[in-house]
Subunit: 140 residues, 2 copies
DNA sequence: ATGGCTGCAAACACTTTGCATCGGC
DNA sequence: GCCGATGCAAAGTGTTTGCAGCCAT
């Protein structure tokens, strides 16, 4: 099942309406991970010029509540959204801003829970230089 | 050497002035980890009522540039500041908001660097219930 | 047809900036 | 005394909210 149809299904199950705006936004987030609200808005307007920024924010918050997307603040910047799948770690390049995902280590959760802390979710971002940018910095 | 005097030393070394405002703000951040700008401002006004919020922000940014403090967005919220010491993980309680620090595992860095990613710094927050809140939820 | 959803604009919260004054060096 | 730092207020961002009309159900 695609992330898109699963998201729409979740909406339906929660008794919320499926509107063209919501469908469009889900598709955009699904296809482009790590966009912020303004970027999502910009993309959405290409398809649906009359969509409002408020709708983007309202939809993002709704999807977040329903657990369809997750928000994270990549390297000091604004809030970025992505469909929730497996837990993973963000590698954020401080040079080009590119974001690479790597699967998350299981040990973290275990360590925290050994201290009596019940982990619900986590946010992990490593900020630094991606391989490309590191190489470019070497040569110059 | 205390975090405070070390911070002031860093200011001096960078050729920046040591003002009563800066000294006060460093002391506040040092004594109370995980405060946001407004909370720091509120505390600062108790001692120095005429201090401006802009000074708080300017000082926080300066200290961040100098590497004296680090900023992180705890559990969706605003930006929080703390003096930079050892790398560590934040355990953020979703119930009471309490933040517990635990030392950071070294493996993370190694894993990322195995992929050619040069880690400069990272942000890691586990959100969930602290031991106390978990216990309280059990009994009720 | 009814209530949720949208677009628009105004309100909000947080952060930065312009400028005259002040004070660390 | 010089120049950086401050306080105040105004401007900038990013996000939320009030409201009249619209449309999915």
């Amino acid at each position: 099942m695609s992330a898109r149809s699963s998201a729409l299904e979740t909406l339906r199950a929660a008794g919320r309406r499926i509107t063209p705006e919501r469908d469009l936004l889900v598709r955009i987030i699904d296809r482009n991970p790590h966009l912020d609200a303004t970027e999502i808005y910009r993309l959405a307007r290409k398809t649906r010029p009359r969509i409002g920024l408020a709708t983007v924010y309202r939809t993002l918050n709704l999807l977040k509540e329903l657990g369809v997307v997750r928000a994270s603040e990549l390297g000091e910047a604004h809030r970025h959204y992505e469909v929730r799948g497996d837990e993973h770690v963000h590698l954020v390049c401080s040079e080009c801003g590119r974001v690479v995902d790597v699967p998350a280590p299981k040990r973290l959760r275990a360590q925290a829970e050994a201290r009596g802390f019940q982990v619900e979710r986590y946010r992990l971002e490593l900020i630094g230089r991606c391989a490309d940018c590191a190489a470019r910095c070497e040569e110059s």
